[in-house]
């Protein structure tokens, strides 16, 4: 499927643009990665005793895989609401630069802020990557409708994946249930590694994994935060040493 040329009458209706966005979910491998990740999240929610409605609501209203996993694993392992909220909010800071960089791609001089609300909500790593790929092929005045369609499609796929994962975890043998839970760390690790372009990104990922078991020994309830801030700061130091100082 190729998108119609920029001057095609296909782009005259915002609903058509929405439909083209929706159809574009079939044009990216990231849709499968998301499906697999959310299959795992559905299974994880089941095994940590959350309801299916809870899992679906988290996908609909949080719409950020890492935040959802952090929320489920921290609450599931007995953290307080405050501890979970802190870990979630720190993991979500990365959404800020994403929203900042992606919204100018679809803004026109007459765009009102509220028209960008859904695009901002839908922004997460997958949408961010795909916007940079698809939007140059979409006329600027139809980009918001296109992104809403793309995001709507991705959310729908993930809601289905959650439901399937939840019931698989409830009904499969223990070994297959474990296989579904293992999908989440694998898909996160490799999709993050794939997006790591600079040395600093690789250092942040590798050190973040290696320092976690050490931080967990301190048993503070903020393990992920501590290892994350330390590893991220060291990674920034590496970036600074190579780029800024040079």
């Amino acid at each position: 499927m190729a998108l119609p040329p920029l001057d095609s009458p296909q782009w005259q209706s915002p609903w058509r643009a929405f439909a083209w966005g929706l159809r574009s979910i079939t044009q990216t491998i990231l849709t499968i990665v998301l499906f697999v990740t959310y299959l795992g999240i559905g299974a994880l929610a089941h095994d940590t005793h959350f309801s299916l409605a809870w899992a679906l609501a988290s996908t609909l209203f949080v719409w950020a895989g890492p935040a959802q996993i952090i929320l489920i694993t921290t609450l599931g392992s007995g953290a307080t609401i405050i501890q979970s909220a802190i870990a979630v909010t720190v993991s979500a800071i990365r959404l800020f630069p994403m929203v900042v960089s992606v919204l100018p791609l679809m803004r026109t001089p007459t765009t009102k802020r509220r028209e960008l609300f859904f695009a901002a909500h839908l922004t997460a790593v997958t949408l961010w990557v795909e916007c940079h790929r698809f939007l140059p092929q979409v006329p600027r005045e139809r980009r918001i409708a296109f992104v809403n369609g793309l995001g709507f499609g991705l959310v729908s796929v993930c809601l289905v994946a959650n439901t399937v994962g939840y019931f698989l975890a409830a009904n499969l043998t223990q070994t297959l249930g474990a296989a579904i839970l293992l999908l989440t760390p694998l898909s996160f690790l490799f999709s993050t590694a794939r997006n790591s372009r600079e040395v600093g990104d690789v250092v942040a990922l590798a050190l973040g994994i290696l320092l976690y078991p050490l931080a967990a020994k301190m048993n503070s309830g903020l393990d992920i935060l501590i290892s994350g801030v330390v590893a991220g700061t060291i990674a920034y130091g590496v970036h600074w040493w190579r780029e800024v100082r040079a």
Binding site: I81, V88, R94, G200, I209
Partner: protein
């Protein structure tokens, strides 16, 4: 599974909003509100991205090191081995997410079957 089990209790949904939705969404809304004035390449944002990546890495490690639910029935060596094997294939296939995930899964399932 009954309908009530699928909905769960309302208390859990309130916790979802307080601990999950609000702390997550606040950053998107700040981006929507103040995004115009911030330089995307600023050093502060580079640090923020590095910390966010490392936190995600910690989450990955937590699931493997302190596995939830059914994953806890898989021996340590198989969980670490699955991630290691997946990583090797991911790198050998010039960063194919698909190849890495499939390899990790096959390693774990084959190991489980081997150990009985």
């Amino acid at each position: 599974m009954s309908f009530a089990q699928l909905i769960g209790d309302w208390h859990a949904l309130v916790v979802l909003f307080v601990a999950g939705v609000v702390p997550n969404q606040i950053w998107r809304m700040l981006g929507l509100w103040f995004g115009g004035g911030i330089d995307e390449g600023s050093e502060l944002l580079v640090w923020v991205r590095a910390v966010a990546t490392a936190i995600l890495a910690g989450v990955i490690a937590q699931i493997v090191v302190e596995p939830p639910g059914a994953l806890a029935t898989v021996p340590d060596v198989l969980r670490y081995g699955a991630v290691g094997a997946g990583l090797v294939v991911f790198l050998l296939t010039r960063r194919s997410i698909f190849a890495g995930v499939v390899t990790g899964e096959v390693f774990m399932l084959a190991g489980k079957w081997w150990l009985g």
